[in-house]
């Protein structure tokens, strides 16, 4: 770090400020004692935290968002792992077209996806079901998990797997004991990305959620339109804390660097 030229350090500092400033402002505003969102915050108070932590219109959606994020991540992984293995190791006809198709949800504005899903899923009786909401989120998160997995898996030669097969391990055993540990960085990185995307997603949830499945971003959005108090800053801070704590647990348990960077 010492050897970095001054302009380089200034540039890094600018990027850090650019990324961190909005978060710091939200956290600052959450502790205000004022009725309004103002920055710098006036006075110090925990009243907005008390309001959101005891208010079902925030806490129930927060829990829903968490469950939906976990379910979307698990489903995305189950779908993306076989796809990645097949696309990297096998001769798939029109491989590029298949890959482009599987990544195509990335190019679609989510609000358009949400509107089509609303009418499409309703035809199958899933328009108001939690499964419909999960399908919507998985369509959004699968490409991210797949893309991350492909990057990691393509960088690993087939030799280790071939050695396992030669030594008598079956397909499943090879996958479980050889492939899975090797693609673990991609799996975790993609999984974290998928969870965060689902946890934050608003368009699909806006149209596909019901009173039982309203997610936090949806309740924040409808709250923000008609209410000017800093309660949304407080619940956003709670949300940030949850994500940071999750990342810290991952770091403590496994070491994030170790997980998301391929081992050398």
């Amino acid at each position: 770090m010492n050897s970095l030229p001054l302009w380089h350090r200034l540039f890094v500092a600018a990027v850090v400020i650019f990324l961190a400033a909005p978060v710091l402002i939200i956290v600052g505003v959450a502790f205000t004692s004022a009725e309004f969102v103002t920055f710098p915050p006036r006075g110090f108070s925990l009243r907005w935290f008390e309001k959101v932590l005891t208010d079902a219109q925030f806490m129930v959606p927060l829990w829903n968002s968490f469950l939906l994020g976990v379910a979307s991540t698990a489903t995305s992984i189950v779908l993306a792992v076989p796809a990645a293995i097949t696309l990297v190791r096998n001769q798939v006809p029109m491989k590029d077209a298949v890959l482009a198709f599987m990544l195509s949800p990335l190019s679609l504005p989510t609000i358009i996806l949400a509107t089509s899903l609303l009418f499409f899923l309703a035809r199958f009786g899933l328009g108001t079901s939690p499964v419909g909401l999960l399908i919507g989120h998985v369509i959004i998160t699968v490409p991210y998990v797949l893309r991350t997995l492909l990057g990691v898996y393509a960088g690993i030669g087939p030799e280790t797997e071939e050695a396992a097969r030669t030594l008598g391990a079956g397909r499943w055993r090879t996958f479980w004991h050889v492939t899975l540990p090797m693609i673990r960085p991609g799996l975790l990185a993609g999984g974290i990305l998928a969870f965060l995307l689902s946890f934050d997603e608003v368009a699909v949830a806006l149209l596909l959620s019901t009173t039982d499945t309203t997610t936090l971003p949806v309740s924040l959005l409808s709250y923000l339109v008609y209410n000017y108090d800093p309660a949304v800053a407080a619940i956003s801070t709670v949300q940030i804390v949850i994500v940071v704590v999750l990342l810290l647990i991952l770091e403590r348990c496994f070491g994030v660097n170790h997980l998301v960077l391929p081992s050398k």
Partner: protein, 344 residues
């Protein structure tokens, strides 16, 4: 290896939680509840506090509140004909007309909703009884009384803004805001109903308008932080702000009155008939007074008596103007397009 088992255990746990969530979430909607809609925050709180208890006491059926916006709810109902996730829907005036036209709503009547008899025609007849508004808000002016005087009439206000009397400290609803076209219609009424003149006037005030606002929250933030002294705004929201110790702020509806905003309540086609009871609760004395205390908006039931402090804030019914929506509904898209082209 230990780390890997740890990761696997976490993954398994995640998958298990996911699966059990799905099972829990996939349960059929319970028949012992109805789903009603409300805007987020204080609107939803008012429904929970003032309408739901009345309905639950009367029927023993639970009320669940879906928050969001008029167009989200309308899309959900449209997408699920015969299996609507919503029983009682609240719509903007125009969305309500559109929904009725598409056959998505049930027609109300005094037999089904006895309190409808006490609601003046202006709040349900233009919708052919496919919806009824439980309260009304009037568009007026909230101003900083320490720096500007009370505006007397809309015409005078517009001329004064255009002459720079308030400086660049004015906020006005945008033509693209839900009730923006209604306010444009009202400006046109001040000049013989000519919409071209309304646009000319809006162009004349534009240099002094800090922001043509599109959400009530951004509007109030501009006013509360002192960026504007004159804010064209809703009476109920203005008084909620003034009553929080902001005595320097005042509100008035310039002559000859203010355009109205309504929250049209309707029973969705195919909903359980018990939903009519909910609308009856909205229109009942208990619902009307309670909602007014929470929201600072007057109810529409003409037989209800309000406490004096509330009545003093209300814009009287004779001062509010309900635009002839069924006549202007087809022209509104053109006004919005024109606003986008000429004002932005």
């Amino acid at each position: 290896m230990k780390r890997f088992s740890c990761a696997l255990a976490a993954l398994n746990a995640a998958a298990l939680i996911g699966a059990s969530t799905l099972a829990a979430m996939a349960e059929e909607p319970k028949p012992e509840k109805i789903v009603v809609t409300a805007y987020g925050g204080i609107w939803a709180e008012s429904v929970a506090k003032n309408y739901a208890p009345c309905f639950e006491k009367k029927t023993g059926v639970r009320v669940e509140i879906l928050t969001g916006e008029s167009s989200d709810w309308l899309n959900k109902v449209k997408a699920n004909p015969g299996n609507s996730p919503i029983d009682v829907i609240t719509l903007s005036e125009l969305d309500s007309l559109r929904a009725a036209k598409e056959g998505l709503l049930e027609q109300l009547s005094v037999e089904k909703v006895p309190n409808l008899a006490s609601i003046p025609d202006a709040f349900h007849k233009p919708w052919d009884d496919y919806g009824v508004s439980g309260n009304y808000g009037a568009m007026g002016v909230m101003y900083n009384s320490q720096s500007v005087a009370e505006p007397q009439s809309w015409k005078q206000l517009i001329d004064d803004i255009a002459a720079g009397k308030y400086g660049e400290k004015v906020a006005w609803p945008s033509g693209t805001y839900t009730w923006g076209p209604s306010q444009l219609w009202w400006v046109a009424q001040q000049y013989g109903g000519d919409i071209d003149v309304a646009f000319e006037k809006m162009k004349a005030i534009k240099p002094y308008v800090v922001k043509f606002w599109t959400t009530p929250v951004e509007a109030l933030n501009l006013f509360a932080t002192g960026e504007v002294d004159v804010l064209v705004y809703w009476d109920g929201r203005a008084f909620a702000f003034i009553n929080k110790g902001n005595d320097w702020a005042k509100f008035s509806v310039p002559e000859p009155g203010g355009v109205v905003s309504l929250v049209m309540q309707s029973v969705v086609k195919g909903a359980n008939p018990i939903a009519y009871e909910y609308i009856d609760c909205v229109l009942s004395e208990e619902g009307q007074v309670g909602n007014s205390q929470t929201m600072r908006y007057p109810g529409t039931n003409s037989t209800v008596t309000y406490p004096d402090d509330l009545r003093a804030e209300f814009t009287p019914m004779e001062k509010v103007k309900v635009p002839p929506y069924s006549e202007i509904i087809d022209r509104i898209p053109e006004w919005i397009e024109r606003w986008n082209k000429e004002m932005q």
